[in-house]
């Protein structure tokens, strides 16, 4: 779905009905979540999801700055999604581009739906998402880690936010697209919910899907998100015993 376009002659599903990395259609890549991995941040989390390595630090609630950004009724949630220069194949120039500005916006909105922002008028909650290595699905992996980091900061939430992607490649609806499936496939759906109620807090899609394919994708996501939600909760409960986790090793 990128400028790389589609190369119809690349086979993404082999003759045994398996994906290039050996997964079945509705199978997730390995996911690992760790909590409180940073010393300075008020809350933090690290997620490895396939080849994605993403670090999230939360600062706040703290007084919103500049003053005119303060809302007298609630806290302002500001997520900033950023990729390290070395995180992608071709070096990324530092600083925000249009893609990262859009991602920061939808991720901020998704997090705000989960945080009880009314408890902190005039405050801001900063969520910094640093992609150290990117491997498809960074925005929902970053969002999934962000809600864990916000919880670890002790900020009251209605629920965690849990995200995953589905999509289509080689004409098949697939869960959790790999980098190749994202680059050469036919559709990509970043998706996130509040798992207790199933409410949708983030949804984007681009590509070519029928209504039936969309429905199938949702079924796959629904099941996977329950699993990821468990990983989030395990990481958080582990953090109470094991105060500063060793990460990335």
């Amino acid at each position: 779905m990128t400028l790389l376009g589609t190369a119809s002659d690349i086979k993404l599903i082999n003759d045994d009905g398996l994906r290039l990395d050996g997964r079945g259609f509705d199978e997730l890549r390995p996911i690992k979540i760790e909590v409180n991995v940073l010393n300075r941040a008020d809350g933090s989390a690290y997620i490895e999801w396939g080849g994605n390595k993403i670090l999230v630090g939360v600062y706040g609630p703290r007084e919103a700055y500049p003053k005119h950004s303060q809302n007298i009724n609630k806290a302002f949630v500001r997520a900033r999604y950023s990729m390290a220069a070395f995180s992608v194949d071709e070096r990324k120039r530092p600083g925000p581009d249009r893609r990262s500005i859009e991602i920061s916006k939808v991720v901020s909105e998704a997090l705000e739906s989960a945080i009880i922002v009314e408890q902190f008028p005039r405050a801001e909650i900063d969520v910094f998402i640093e992609v150290l290595q990117a491997d498809a699905g960074t925005r929902i992996a970053g969002l999934t880690a962000s809600s864990v980091a916000v919880a670890a900061a002790g900020i009251p939430m209605r629920d965690l936010v849990v995200g995953c992607t589905a999509g289509k490649a080689d004409g098949q609806v697939l869960l959790d697209l790999s980098k190749e499936e994202d680059n050469f496939g036919q559709a990509d759906i970043p998706f996130a919910i509040l798992p207790k109620t199933g409410e949708v807090v983030l949804m984007q899609m681009d590509g070519d899907l029928t209504v039936e394919e969309m429905s199938k994708a949702h079924s796959m996501l629904d099941k996977a998100l329950k699993h990821i939600y468990n990983l989030q909760r395990e990481a958080l409960s582990k953090s109470f015993t094991d105060v500063v986790a060793q990460w990335g090793e």
């Binding site: 400028l3 376009g5 916006k105 939808v106 739906s113 199933g198 949708v200 899609m205 681009d206």
Partner: protein, 262 residues
Amino acid sequence: MPRDELGILSEIKKNFILRKLSDGVRGDGRKFDEFREISIQTNYVPRAAGSAMVTIGKTRILAGVKIEIGEPFPDTPNQGVLTTNVELLPISFPTFESGPPNEVSIEISRVVDRGIREGKTIELKDLVIEEGKKVWIVFIDIDVLDVDGNIFDACNLGAVAALRTAVIPGEAHGFKDAKLPVNNTPVSVTFAKLGDWIVADPTIEEEQMSSARVTVTTTEDGHIRAMQKGLSGTFTWKEIEDAINTSIRLGKEIREKYLQGV
């Protein structure tokens, strides 16, 4: 899109709108799935390769297409280039300021772009002059002139109409002028959620009261090409499915009524 200028839409107005919704009708008398009047005037800017002035109710945008020769991206030597840029002009709303694109205009640009791109309105392969060296670059620039809600769909219509009427300026470069080859016609439909009600083509007052927004772009084959959920409210999956089906239906109507002749 823009929040109420004072941050507060009068409580009386809000309650009026909500009461009406509970009676099954919108503040301006429309049905929940009804668009306001749409007008599309193409070739408004003859100097552009293609252009269209679009109004949806009192929302007004002007889309212009420029087609120039340039180099392809190194990783796609056999494709032309398409870019979409939306400018929220300061004439269009009291709190809009001059300056570089902000996150609001960038989001609109990117959602419109995805609809056009994934809807295969134009095939980038058709824009190659000399593989790896020379391609046509299609710039879609959209100026928002007057804001009264639902900028997304107005910009989408403007972009599609401007492309459908665009001419590649071949003569200036030793070729012949030629109509830009256009294929599918993606149409976006945007919904706002107010309380538990969901309405299509929201006015600015409805936007200012809404908790969530979703845009669904579909093509004539009934396929979904782009979606974007926005704001900090939520949708149930049922609501999303309804929005998809309604968008397919309304998209068909808009395509037939307003874009057929363009």
